[in-house]
């Protein structure tokens, strides 16, 4: 049983007291920041990332994974309690979760979200352990042409599955790719787009981009409309779902887990698509669909399980192929590179303790979520009552200190301010920042693989079509693209994302 032996390695790596502590700290901090309204997981991770730089790689990634789950759960908490989803994947939770809170059933909604997430997390972790090794084996046979095509597919799929205008999203990707190659060209040593600024010679730090676009940009956007939020729930009681609730949520949790696990692997989808899909599925199978939106517990259980399963399985392409499927994974890849690990299929064979340690710690992180969050719910509720105008200067302070401490460079903070402006402009023009971040991370890698593939083929671009795996991936990317352009699917896609508005 190789699986058990592998999980054994992971247990050994993750179950050291110090790593357990980092995992716990990550989950706690992640929830703490994630609960603050207006901060999604991307901004949360970017903000807390500098705190992990000093740690050894295994601990750092375990802590980051913990932060991610914490931030996600924190987002669900705000969605349920004040109808203000911190991130797109908990938009759906707000529909029925907030309705439940208004009926005085916030406790049941919160614990349903926690239990559903825990179950989904357990299953998805197991899936990850089963499917990651064979996928990594295949990936090890990939040449540069395959990698290039895979990245094209990943970027295309992320556009197709995201919402909004297609040409704008593609343009944002290309913009990101261009920003990603700012800095010294590894092959020729040419300084590209650096304007002779020494700080740009190593390229733009991705934390600067993420923090500016997602942190600062968000803050400016929130300042547009400072309506007062009322926290409906002063104290949460009756945490345990009733026996009848349990009966109701078993089905949605199972279906949500299955759906989320499958969709999470797809690039671009991850947590958000999973929760949307799970909600519409629950609505379809329900005997009385009219209850949805008015506090149906199924509407909390399904999407919450699905988004956690999706969050978990989106680690599969990240860990095995080194391809991020969403902005959070892009940040994780950035963190790995900072730790000196080149993400890709080799990580599993060369650093088994790291690989399996992360997988095991995911499950531990999910466990901590339950242990930590249900008892601490009182604290989270109190955090929600902090008004935004008191909160946001604090957010800015953390962003600035975080970015400054990357290299002790004032220039990084200037650039973050610039990306903050860009983030706000993009938000106003309805250009999604997420594809840009993916492009930014993939930019240098794509150029490198393109170069190598073309050198190997002696400049013949047919290599991408002649190699079967590469051709298949490009074909898939094309099909995905054409599918969005076809009117029938386009309508469906718009419908699917409509509930967010």
């Amino acid at each position: 049983m190789e699986l058990i032996a592998n999980l054994g390695i992971g247990l050994e790596a993750a179950f050291t007291p110090i790593n357990l502590l980092y995992c716990l700290a990550g989950v706690f901090l992640g929830t703490l920041i994630g609960v603050l309204p207006g901060l999604g997981p991307v901004a949360t991770i970017a903000m807390l990332l500098p705190a992990t730089f000093a740690l050894p790689p295994v601990s750092a990634l375990i802590m980051l994974a913990g932060i991610y789950y914490g931030a996600q759960y924190g987002g669900s908490t705000t969605a349920i309690l004040i109808n203000l989803p911190g991130e797109s994947s908990s938009v759906i939770t707000a529909l029925d979760g907030y309705a439940m809170a208004r009926q005085g059933r916030a406790g049941a909604a919160l614990s349903t979200a926690a239990l559903g997430s825990f179950f989904a997390g357990t299953v998805a972790t197991f899936l990850l352990a089963v499917f990651a090794p064979p996928l990594a084996d295949i990936a090890l046979k990939f040449g540069p042409a395959e990698y290039f095509s895979l990245m094209v597919l990943g970027l295309m799929a992320s556009v197709v599955l995201a919402h909004g205008s297609l040409p704008k999203a593609i343009a944002m990707i290309v913009f990101g790719l261009l920003l990603g190659i700012v800095g010294t060209d590894v092959n020729s040593g040419t300084q590209r787009f650096t304007f002779e600024v020494p700080e740009l010679a190593d390229g733009i730090n991705f934390v600067v981009v993420a923090m500016g676009m997602f942190g600062l940009g968000e803050v400016i956007k929130n300042l547009e409309d400072e309506h007062s939020r009322s926290v409906f729930v002063k104290s949460v009681t009756g945490l345990m779902p009733t026996r009848e609730d349990f009966k109701r949520i078993v089905g949605p949790i199972l279906r949500g887990t299955a759906l989320g696990s499958a969709l999470g692997i797809l690039p671009g989808g991850g947590a958000m698509l999973s929760s949307f899909a799970a909600y519409s599925l629950e609505k379809k199978v329900a005997k009385d669909p009219s209850r949805f939106g008015k506090g149906a517990i199924e509407g909390v259980a399904g999407p919450e399980s699905a988004n956690n399963a999706g969050a978990q399985t989106s680690f599969i392409p990240m860990l095995t192929l080194g391809i991020p499927s969403n902005p959070v994974m892009a940040l994780m890849i950035g963190a790995m590179i900072i730790q000196g690990i080149q993400p890709g299929p080799a990580v599993m064979t060369e650093q088994p303790a790291l690989f399996w340690g992360i997988i095991v710690s995911m499950w531990i992180g999910n466990l901590f979520l339950i242990v930590l969050n249900l008892p601490l719910i009182g604290i989270w509720v109190r955090l929600l009552t902090i008004p935004y105008h008191v909160l946001f200067p604090g957010i800015l302070v953390f962003c600035c200190i975080g970015v400054y401490s990357l290299n002790n460079s004032a220039f990084d903070v200037y650039m973050m301010a610039g990306f903050g402006l860009l983030g706000y402009v993009c938000a106003k023009l309805e250009c999604e920042p997420a594809p840009m971040l993916l492009g930014f991370i993939l930019g240098p890698m794509m150029e490198e693989y393109l170069r190598r593939a073309m050198t190997l083929s002696r400049g013949n671009p047919m290599v991408f079509i002649e190699r079967p795996i590469s051709a298949a991936m490009l074909a898939l990317a094309l099909i995905a693209l054409l599918a969005v352009l076809s009117p029938a699917i386009r309508k469906k896609r718009e419908e699917a994302f409509q509930e967010e508005e």
Binding site: A171, L223, I401, Y414
Partner: protein, 153 residues
């Protein structure tokens, strides 16, 4: 002009993409283009920049034939004060120290809110500056001065 631009959000994003694409393409001219077999430093950026400019032009043109909402409600105060606060922080942190720079950042950015009151802002300045000094300098040991050389340290 207003009558022609029927979808301002798309129109202006197209203009932005075209401008960025052309700027990148312009600069890429200085880098060696190379050939498909031996790509120079300019190959990838030039190709991408032209794709971006073309996409931008397409988006701009399309915006003349589709309907879309206008751009409304710019958060002008936030748009100015949030980045300015960050710039002030970056400019003062090394010379003035964390207490000064955090205080200034809080003061400037807090003024962006419609709920701004000098008293609350003053309390926030003190609390956040003290908190950051405690957490980042004393506990985490970041190499940022508490009170910088500007004050004769």
């Amino acid at each position: 002009m207003q009558g022609l631009i029927r979808n301002p959000k798309d129109f202006w994003s197209g203009v932005m993409f075209t401008a960025v694409g052309l700027a990148f393409a312009w600069i890429s001219q200085d880098y060696q283009f190379g050939s498909a077999r031996r790509m120079g430093a300019g190959f990838f950026p030039m190709v991408l920049a032209l794709i971006l400019a073309a996409l931008g032009a397409f988006i701009t043109l399309r915006a003349l034939f589709t309907e879309g909402e206008g751009i409304r409600g710019l958060a002008l105060k936030g748009l100015l004060l949030v980045p300015i606060g960050c710039l002030i922080f970056a400019a003062t942190v090394r010379g003035g120290g964390i207490l000064l720079s955090v205080g200034l950042l809080v003061l400037v950015s807090a003024a962006a809110s419609v709920h701004f009151k000098l008293r609350t802002a003053a309390i926030m300045m003190v609390v956040l500056a003290a908190f950051c000094a405690l957490v980042f300098i004393i506990a985490l040991g970041l190499p940022i001065p508490m009170v910088g050389p500007w004050f004769g340290n």
